[in-house]
């Protein structure tokens, strides 16, 4: 049995949580216990805080959601600085945290009634089309202004240093997940000067949440847990002296031959010869009533909370989606002592591997296929859900509704590539459903339509970690060959790596991917 103290997992069958010194932070003036090494959002969650902010127009509650600084639900004022994403900031003793929206605060917000009223009294677009008389118009404009804006104006001057560094390198790798580490290793080992940047404080990308063992052949690290694979790759990477690793570094733009990035509070102006974009994927969400309630999460948010910070996400969860992510997450929840009420799946059969499904079924979790979630129940956060059966045309069958008791809902319905940087860099993109959404056109060596920009991993098409590693290898080696490095050895390895990938995808699960890739392969081929 997993021991839980103050909302935190103390003993876990696989993971070990090393918590730092106990500190006290203040949330809207109220003292809250936290441990060094925890983010503010995680510490608040552990202490039972569920509402982190309010939505702008309807004042609907917003809570912990993505855990990786991508959504804006956890923005608060921290020590006088507004709009701080509290899931990315670590606790410090005495830290003053205030919610920014709602009156008097986000948790108890009198403006919560707006949810029911505002569409009646001030329908969307009223600011343009109503109050056209000069006096009313000017009154409206000045009133509107007092409602606008998130977060107070800064009360103190930001204390961070604003440093600046210019870096020239042969290969810039944007993203330190499995594909990125693999690209950096394979470019670095042939002597290229590599810079690898990642926005997170640790390498490994999504592997750090994957406590399960991988499948496939031994050559591809099957039987090893995801977290262990991340460690192995990182060790290999750190052994190469010509690879510079910058963590907590976010690339924000590819401006022709220059890449802009921020390393903590330092601005980087990077001038790379080749760029490998390995930015991974976003979690998709699903449309159902109340899907914005605190307690409706993506699988990633729950995994971060539970596996990285060791915080119990809730007592009883409903999982939507029976792909591998949904199945593995269910198992991880059970491991952490959290009940799984059910798994629902819209398709007529389970999406993930049979072994995973069998494992959760053995532990007594019902899997409802041809079912979907209709709505989440609750006012401030999730207190239940309604599911229903679907007919052949994907419509809910009246009368088949079933109420599920749960205090959180996990939406694990797949991923979409994080394609923004590629789009901005001018790469030709295409919508390919088999690959999860908008993906770049690429050669078989993973070079996009913009010369010198490569892709690998989920951003090139949603697949999984093993093929991400193989694709990173192809991109990394091709980049060094294009730079005139590596000689015959690199060319030989490039051919071998292409063959490896082909073999790996030969199985039944690769069929869909191959079909998707055929749709976005660039005819232009650079023969080596």
């Amino acid at each position: 049995m997993v021991k839980v103290v103050d909302g935190r997992l103390v003993e876990h069958p696989i993971l070990k949580f090393n918590r730092g010194k106990e500190v006290t932070i203040y949330f809207n003036g109220k003292p809250i216990k936290a441990y060094e090494g925890e983010t503010v959002a995680a510490a608040l969650y552990a202490s039972g805080v569920r509402i982190f902010s309010r939505s702008f127009r309807w004042h609907r509650p917003r809570g912990f959601f993505c855990a990786i600084g991508k959504c804006s639900a956890c923005m608060m004022e921290v020590d006088g600085i507004p709009n701080v994403r509290t899931c990315k900031v670590y606790v410090r003793d005495g830290m003053q945290i205030k919610t920014q929206s709602g009156f008097p605060n986000a948790e108890k917000d009198f403006f919560g009634v707006m949810d029911k009223l505002i569409d009646r009294i001030f329908p969307h677009g009223s600011q343009y089309t109503k109050f056209n008389n000069k006096i009313f118009r000017e009154m409206l404009i000045s009133r509107l202004r007092s409602f606008a804006g998130f977060g107070n104006a800064p009360k103190v001057e930001f204390s961070g240093n604003a440093d600046y560094e210019e870096i020239e390198c042969d290969v810039l790798v944007i993203g330190g997940g499995p594909a990125g580490m693999s690209a950096a290793i394979n470019a670095g080992k042939y002597g290229a000067k590599v810079l690898l940047i990642d926005e997170n404080p640790n390498l490994g990308g999504q592997l750090v949440k994957q406590t399960h063992r991988f499948f496939g052949s031994a050559k591809h690290r099957a039987g090893t847990r995801g977290i262990k694979i991340a460690k192995i790759l990182e060790e290999e990477l750190r052994k190469i002296p010509n690879v510079d690793i910058r963590l907590e570094t976010k690339a924000f733009g590819i401006y022709g031959k220059i890449v802009g990035a921020v390393e903590k509070s330092k601005l980087l102006r990077i001038i790379p010869k080749k760029i490998v974009v390995v930015t991974g994927a976003y979690e998709r969400t699903l449309i159902f009533e109340n899907n914005d309630l605190p307690g409706v999460y993506g699988a990633g948010g729950v995994q971060t909370l539970m596996n990285v910070y060791g915080i119990k996400p809730g007592n009883r969860g409903l999982i939507v989606g029976s792909g591998n992510v949904g199945l593995i997450l269910s198992y991880q929840l059970l491991q952490a002592g959290v009940e799984v009420a059910a798994i629902v799946e819209a398709m007529p059969r389970i999406g993930g591997y049979f072994v995973h499904a069998a494992k959760v079924r053995r532990l007594g979790v019902p899997i409802y296929v041809r079912h979907t979630i209709i709505r989440a129940i609750g006012k401030d956060h999730v207190r239940g859900a309604v599911i229903a059966q679907l007919d052949d045309k994907w419509r809910p069958i009246p009368g088949s509704e079933k109420k599920i008791d749960c205090d959180f809902i996990c939406v694990a319905v797949g991923l979409s590539p994080t394609h923004e940087l590629l789009y901005q860099a001018g790469c030709k993109m295409k919508f390919v459903p088999e690959l999860g959404g908008l993906v770049p056109l690429r050669t078989k060596f993973n070079e996009t339509s913009v010369e010198g920009i490569y892709v690998a991993g989920d951003v090139a098409g949603i697949e999984e970690a093993t093929s991400a590693i193989m694709n990173g290898r192809i991109a990394g080696i091709h980049a060094v060959i294009a730079l005139g490095l590596g000689g015959e050895m690199a060319k030989k390895e490039l051919k071998e790596s292409l063959r490896d990938l082909e073999e790996f995808r030969a199985g039944p699960f690769g069929e869909r991917i191959i079909c998707g890739i055929e749709k976005c392969i660039l005819a232009k081929e650079v023969e080596i």
């Binding site: 343009y128 409206l140 509107l144 606008a148 998130f150 977060g151 104006a153 800064p154 930001f158 604003a162």
Partner: protein
Amino acid sequence: MRVAIIGAGIAGLATAYFLAKEGIKVEVFEQKFLLHGASGRNSGGITAQFDDEELIKLAIRNEKLYDKLQSEIGFNFLLRKDGYLKLANSIEELGRIELQRKFGLKVKIMEAEEVRNIFEDINTEAFKFASFYPKGAIVFPWAVIWGLAKGCKDLGVKIYDFTKVEIVAEDGKVKGVKSGEFHEADVVVNAAGAWSKEINDKLGIKEEKRIIREEICVTESIKPYIDPYILHASEGLFLSQSMRGEIVGGIVGKSDGGMTSSLDFLIRYAKLVTRLVPKLKGLAVLRQWAGIYDETLDGKPKMCFSEIKGLYQLNGFGRKGMSIGLACAEIASKEILKFTQEE
């Protein structure tokens, strides 16, 4: 009588609106989408603090037209008159204050310290003098274009977007415009902003003009607390806070170039803006973009018929389009009406 207008920016749409009100049949042609040009990319500052009699008069008329058109069309441009604050390192760089006062502008000259009464967080060491024009304003440029387009459509004006046209002229006289299909017109208005030179070049009309690229960025939103539009004339820095609370700012353009954004702009802007308002340090930039505009050598707009009969030039607004565009369009529409009556 038919009028074809090239360019669905503030000048083109306002001209179309004024003409349609007089019962003229008008068609507007936009090469891309509405807001693609400078009217959709500027920062919405409106002032009359100019150094030329004609420009000051146009700007004063323009202020009145904003009020009139919003009520008439029934669409709010989210215009707020919180003043225009011009900063400079020397009193000369503030421009011709006496001239401005002569035409009735209540411009207030201040020393740096006094400016803190208008905006407390300003760093008084970053400039020496300021001229404050209380009737200066900030407008949401998109709403201006949406509103004018609505006004035009209500009056039966056809607006064609994604329609790049060429002017058809014969024997020194315009016949209409063509984009695949031919649209007959007695008058063609070149209100294509930064693209007006390209149109004139094709017709062999020579003009001295510069195409200037300017970059802007927007931060995340915070509670509105910067009221006036601020322009640091010596450094070319400008900023204001939008209705949604974002800090919108940029650097006055100097050179030409395309519409791509640059990292160098962002770095320079960040340095300048945090020197002027130190508390903006640490605020995240959400978006950046670039736009282009056309500027004449004397800085005054072109609004006149040109050597080809029936071709009206309405361009060369430089950075002043939002401040004088409506007034210029009003003059243009009157001259076009006169032309049609004479014909």
